[in-house]
Amino acid sequence: MKLVMDNLGFLFTGAYYTLLITIVSMFFGLFIGLFTAIARLKGNRLVAGIARVYVSIIRGTPIIVQIFIIYYGLPDYGIALQPMTAAYISLSINIGAYLSETFRGAILSVDKGQTEAALSLGLTPWQTMRKVVLPQAARTAIPPMGNTFIGILKETSLVSIVTVTELLRSAQLLIAQYYVAMPFYLAIAIMYWVMSTGFSAILNVIERKLSKAY
C-alpha cells in the first residue's frame, strides 16, 4: 500500500496518458466515423464501397494487430512513428470504424419525414443533414458512443505493448522495479474503474440534457 502511495504521482501520469489517448483518439475517431457514415449513406458507389471495406477490415481484425501494423509494419515503408503517434492513429482509425456503424444506424433512425420537411422548406441536402438529421441522430448515438468511449478507455492498455507509458505500463514498470505485483495492479484497476464510471456519469448527464425536448 505504501509502495502505491509513494508512486502515486507516477501512476497518475500513466492515467493522464490513458485519458489523453482516449480523448484524442475519440475526437478524431468521431470525425472519421461521421465522415464514413455519411460516405456510406450518401456517397456514390465507389466512395460508399471504400467506406464499407474500411469498416469491414477494422471490425474483422484484432485491434492489437492494427496497432502492430501501424507501429511495427509501417517502418518497413520508411514510415517510423513515435509510439504515442502510432497509438493515436491506430485507435482513431479503429474507433472511426465502430462509430461509423453507430452513426449510420442513428442517421437511418431519423424519420424520412424530417428530411422531406426540411427539403420542402428549401434547405439543401447538406443543410438538412446538419440542422435536422444530425442533431436528432446525435441523441440516438450518444449511449452507444458512451460505450465505445469506455471500451476504448480500457483498450488503451493495449498500446502499452508499443511502449507507450500509459496506466498499465506505468504499473508494469513499477512492478519490475519493486518485485511486487498485486498492489500496483489493484491500484490501476481501481483507477480504470473510477475513470469508466466517471465517464458514464458524465454521459448520463449529457443524455438527459439532449432528451429534454422529447
Binding site: G113, E116, A117, A118, S120, G122, Q136, R139, A213
Partner: protein, 250 residues
C-alpha cells in the same frame, strides 16, 4: 401559375401517374380528391421536387422542371421550385429537437440568411396568426396534433411561398382537432393564397375549393367546380368514391 403537363411517374412496375396535366391559376384553391393510392400525394410531391417524374414537366411561374433534365440543372430548378412552394404533411414533421419558435425561424435563417431578429419578428406574427403565439418556447412534443399542424403551417409560411401544398393535413388528427387546422386553411384561402389541397374533408372541399380535381389510378378522371362535382359527378368512379365517403367519413 402552375402548369403540369403530361406528367408520368412509376415506382418500379407500378405506374402511379399516367400522363397527368393540370393548370392552376394564381389564387385558386384546388382540392385533389380520390381513393387512397390514386397518386394524389405523388402528384403533389412532384410540384416541389420531392418526387422526380419519369416524363413530362412541371412549371411554376418561370421555373420549369422537366423529367429529362441534367442533374445539375434539375438541382437548381428544384431549389427554385421549393422557394415558391410550402408543404404541409399529414404527419406534421415538426423538428422535435427545436422549440416552436426555432422550428419557424430555422429555414428563413438557414436558407435566406435572414438576421435572427427579423426572422423572430416574422415567426411571432405567423404564430399569432395560427393562434399559437404563447407556445413559442414549447417543444413540439408538448403540443396537441392540431397545434403541431398549425405550427407546421406557420413554418411553411415563414418562407413566404406563393403556393401552399397540403397533403392530408388533418388525416392524422382526432376529429375534434381538425376544425382548428381547417380554420387556419380557410383564412389562408381568404387571403388569396394559391393552394393545392389533398384532403378527405368533404365539407372543406365543398366550401373552400374553387375547383375539385378527382383522381383515380393515376389519372385525373374529372374536374370541375365543387357545386357541380358534388351535385353530379360525371364518372362512375367519382360517384362510387362520393358514396363511400358519405358512408364512412374519414
Amino acid at each position: 401559375m402552375i402548369e403540369v403537363s403530361h406528367l408520368s411517374k412509376s415506382f418500379g412496375s407500378l405506374s402511379v401517374l399516367k400522363d397527368v396535366s393540370l393548370d392552376i391559376r394564381q389564387g385558386e384553391i384546388v382540392v385533389l380528391l380520390g381513393p387512397s393510392g390514386s397518386g394524389k400525394s405523388t402528384l403533389l410531391r412532384c410540384l416541389n421536387g420531392l418526387e422526380q417524374a419519369d416524363a413530362g414537366s412541371v412549371r411554376i411561374d418561370s421555373v420549369r422542371i422537366e423529367a429529362m433534365m441534367r442533374a445539375k440543372e434539375r438541382k437548381k430548378a428544384v431549389h427554385e421550385l421549393r422557394s415558391l412552394t410550402g408543404m404541409v404533411f399529414q404527419s406534421f414533421n415538426l423538428f422535435p429537437h427545436l422549440t416552436v419558435l426555432d422550428n419557424v425561424i430555422m429555414a428563413p435563417m438557414t436558407v435566406k440568411n435572414m438576421p435572427k431578429e427579423q426572422a423572430v419578428e416574422i415567426a411571432e406574427r405567423l404564430l399569432g396568426k395560427v393562434g399559437l403565439a404563447e407556445k413559442r418556447d414549447e417543444y413540439p412534443s408538448r403540443l396537441s396534433g392540431g397545434q403541431q399542424q398549425r405550427v407546421a403551417i406557420a413554418r411553411a409560411l415563414a418562407m413566404e411561398p406563393k403556393i401552399m401544398l397540403f397533403d392530408e393535413p388533418t388525416s392524422a388528427l382526432d376529429p375534434e382537432l381538425t376544425g382548428e387546422v381547417l380554420q387556419v386553411m380557410r383564412q389562408l384561402a381568404e387571403e388569396g393564397m394559391t393552394m393545392v389541397v389533398v384532403t378527405h374533408e368533404m365539407k372543406f372541399a365543398q366550401e373552400v375549393a374553387n375547383r375539385i380535381v378527382f383522381m383515380s389510378e393515376g389519372i385525373i378522371q374529372e374536374e370541375g367546380a365543387p357545386e357541380h362535382f358534388f351535385a353530379g359527378p360525371k364518372t362512375e368512379r367519382a360517384r362510387k368514391f362520393l358514396r363511400q365517403m358519405a358512408q364512412e367519413p374519414v
